[in-house]
C-alpha cells in the first residue's frame, strides 16, 4: 500500500491510497484523478497518462524503459522526470510518492 499525491497544474492536489501491484495509472483512474486519460488502457501505447515525478522521488520511481521512452516521444512537454504512469508499479517503497499532472495530455 502506498499513498500517492497527484498535483494538478492549478496547484490543487489529491492523495490516494494505492494497492501494491497495481499501476499508478490504475490508482489514478480508480480515484478519477483529472488529466490521467490512459486512452489505451495501460498498454504503453498512447502516452496519455504522462506525469512528472517530483524531484525527490525520481530515483525511487525509476527510469523509463526503452519502450516507454519511445512512447514518451508522443507526449507533450517531456522533461527528464517524465514517466508514463501506467508503467510505474505501486510498491510499499513508493509510499508518499508525489506526481504532477501535465497541463494537457494532447
Amino acid at each position: 500500500m502506498a499513498k500517492i499525491t497527484f498535483i494538478q497544474p492549478d496547484g490543487s492536489s489529491q492523495t490516494v491510497d494505492a494497492k501494491s501491484g497495481m499501476t499508478v495509472m490504475e490508482a489514478a483512474r480508480l480515484a478519477s484523478i483529472p488529466g490521467i486519460e490512459a486512452e489505451c488502457g495501460g498498454a504503453c501505447a498512447c502516452a496519455t497518462c504522462h506525469v512528472y515525478v517530483d524531484a525527490g522521488w525520481v530515483a525511487k520511481a525509476g527510469k523509463a524503459a526503452a519502450m516507454e521512452e519511445d512512447m514518451l516521444d508522443f507526449a507533450f512537454d517531456v522533461r527528464p522526470e517524465s514517466r508514463l504512469s501506467c508503467q510505474i508499479k505501486v510498491t510499499d517503497a513508493l509510499d508518499g510518492l508525489i506526481l504532477t499532472v501535465p497541463t494537457k495530455q494532447f
Binding site: E39, C40, A43, A45, C46, A47, T48, E69, D70, L72, D73, F74, F76, D77, V78, T103, K104, F106
Partner: protein, 352 residues
Amino acid sequence: MPLDTPETTLDAGIVETDCVVIGAGPVGLFAVFELGLVDIKVHVVDILDKVGGQCAELYPEKPIYDIPALPVVTGQELTDRLMEQIKPFGAQFHLGERIDALSREADGRFRVETDAGKVFLAKVVVVAAGGGSFTPKRPPLQGIEAYEGTSVFYAVRKIETFRDRNVLIVGGGDSALDWTLNLQPVAKSVTLLHRRDEFRAAPHTVQQMRDLVEAGKVQLRIGQVTALDGADGALSSVTISTATAPETLPVDRMLPFFGLTMKLGPVANWGLNLEQNLIAVDTAKFETSEPGIFAIGDINTYPGKLKLILSGFHEAALMAQAAHKIVYPGKKLMFQYTTSSSGLQKKLGIHG
C-alpha cells in the same frame, strides 16, 4: 452461393449494398461474419490504412488474455485470425477513408459518404467505430488552430505546399524521418526537431537523415516546440526549448508527427442519441435511436456495458439477427448452428 447476387454500381459511382460497417476493428470484422451467415453483403470502411483497429494500431504485439478459447493472442494475431474467419464472405474493404456523412434517403435506405468521395446506398449501417476515428495528435500549443491547413499540417497531401519553404518537422518516427528525406530536395530549408537524439524510425532512414545533417542539407535540433508566432494563419517562427537556451527558428511550415489519438469525429453529427460521447443502444438488437443504424463494440453504451472485445462479438451476433429483418423483410430466419447446418457450412465454403 446465396451471396453472389451482383451489387449494383449506379452510373454516378454510387455503390448499392446491404450493409456498410464503419470500423474494421475486431468487432467490425466479426460483424462481417455474423452478417454473412444471414446472407447480408457488407462493405467495411476504416480511417486507418490497415484492418484491426486499435488491436493493429495500438497494440499489435501486446497479448490479449480474455478472448474465449484463446488463452493468449496478440492484437495482430487476433486480427489475422478474424480476417481468415470472414474470408468466405468476400466483404469489400475501403481503407484510409472516413465516413463523413450519413443520411436517410426517401426510400428508407442510408446514404453513406466517405471523405474520398465514395457513396454507398445501404439498407443497414453498423457503427463499430471503437474509440472513434484515429486522428493526428495536435500539440497543445497556444493558437495552433489558426495555422492549421495554411502553415501547420499533420500529413503531406501536396508536396507543392512545402516547395521553397522553411519547413520544421517535429518527431522521431518513420513519418518525421521519411518526410525529412522527401522534402529536403524541395524545400528551401528543412529542420528536424526531436526531443532526444534517438529515433524510432527505420535505421537506414535515420542514417540517411544523419548524412544530410552532416552535409549541411538538413538541420537537426534536439528540443521541443514551446510557442508559435505569426499572423493571419501564416507562421513566421517557432520557439523551441533546448538543453541550453530557448531558440527561435524562422520557419513558415510545420509538420508535427506525434502519433494518433481517437476522436468521436463525424459520428457526433448523425443525429444519434449519445450518452457521454457513446452511442446509446438497446440490448436486444443493439440498434441506435435511428432504426436501421446499429452500434456495436466500444462505441456503444447500455446498462452494464463492458468495453471488451468479447462483448462486441456478442453484440454483433444479435445485431445481425435484427439487421436480417430489415434487409430481408418478411423472410423468416431459422436459427442454426455452424456445426450442423449444411446451409451455413456452404456459406463458409466447407464442403462435406
